[in-house]
């Protein structure tokens, strides 16, 4: 009969719970089932507008380097830094992702997430987002971003 005790303080561990992705995938599939693709778009727009408000403001102020820093940081956190390549100049950015850190295999809405999160962040910041390629089986993708009007 075991008696086990575990005590942890915040900071003892790294914050990386990859199972969260599966829950998100289930949630997106649930919204799809009840409200269709429009529902997913509506939900993702609300998430992006609320959560990424600060990032949008930063891109408006500092330009694409703020978006590049964001991508680099989340790929590093997800331990996928080597899957991300970014070519950038002042008004444009070209990202090539060799493998996604998660593949939305339940909801199958990888493209919708890219367009309605990254795309929306960039559109609201004054840039066009163009998804050039997405492999639904690996999450590999490529997109280009250009300042609107240039």
């Amino acid at each position: 009969m075991a008696k086990l005790i575990m005590e942890r303080k915040m900071g003892d561990n790294l914050y990386l719970h990859k199972d969260f992705h599966a829950s998100m995938d289930i949630a997106l599939a649930y919204i799809d089932k009840r409200y269709g693709k429009e529902g997913i778009e509506e939900y993702l727009a609300r998430f992006t507008d609320s959560y990424h408000k600060e990032l949008i403001g930063k891109i408006q102020e500092e330009g694409l380097s703020a978006f590049k820093d964001y991508l680099v940081s989340i790929f590093a956190i997800e331990e996928c830094a080597d899957c991300l390549k970014i070519m950038m100049n002042e008004d444009s950015l070209h990202a090539v992702i060799s493998k996604g850190f998660y593949v939305y295999s339940i909801s199958k809405c990888g493209q919708m997430v890219l367009v309605n999160v990254y795309g929306r962040i960039l559109n609201k910041s004054g840039y066009n987002f163009e998804l050039l390629f997405l492999d639904d089986t690996t999450g590999a993708c490529e997109f280009k971003v250009k300042r609107i009007g240039r």
Binding site: I5, N13, F101, G110
Partner: protein, 150 residues
């Protein structure tokens, strides 16, 4: 892609979205779905295989990966498993975010999601939620002896 470090605000926004469409009852329905689709295959299967010790194994992984501040005890002789959450990382994160990200009844999902699975396997589940936004809570699972636990 939504990083797993962005999951809490994304999940909270799912609850807000569903509440607006279907009210609290609709959110509860979603939590039941998540419990069946996500928690049951993980926590449920561990309890099925290992009894109350399965709780210790399940939360050992998730709480460490979420960088929580907690104390967790398994006493198989007494038939008790307890988590004292000193600082919940999810609630802690929500408290720092703009209110547009926050579903006010966010913590309720922790009661429903796990209770539904734990009680299915004949164990008792007690949940004491966070009070006054301190990001502290407590849950206790006991082997049923006919006597309610506190």
């Amino acid at each position: 892609m939504i990083s797993c470090t962005e999951f809490i605000p994304a999940y909270s926004q799912v609850f807000k979205y569903l509440h607006e469409k279907e009210g609290y009852a609709g959110v509860v329905k979603f939590w039941e779905h998540i419990s069946d689709e996500y928690v049951e295959p993980r926590l449920g299967q561990l309890i099925k295989e290992k009894g109350i010790a399965g709780c210790y194994e399940y939360w050992s992984k998730s709480l460490n990966e979420e960088n929580a501040d907690f104390s967790m005890t398994l006493d198989e002789e007494k038939g008790e498993f307890e988590i004292v959450m000193n600082k919940c990382p999810s609630k802690g994160m929500l408290l720092k975010l703009d209110p547009s990200n926050v579903y006010n009844d966010y913590c309720d999902h922790c009661d429903l999601l796990y209770r539904r699975v734990v009680e299915k396997y004949g164990l008792s589940y007690y949940f004491e939620p966070d009070k006054d936004n301190m990001a502290c809570c407590r849950l206790k699972v006991t082997i049923k002896t006919g006597k309610a636990h506190e």
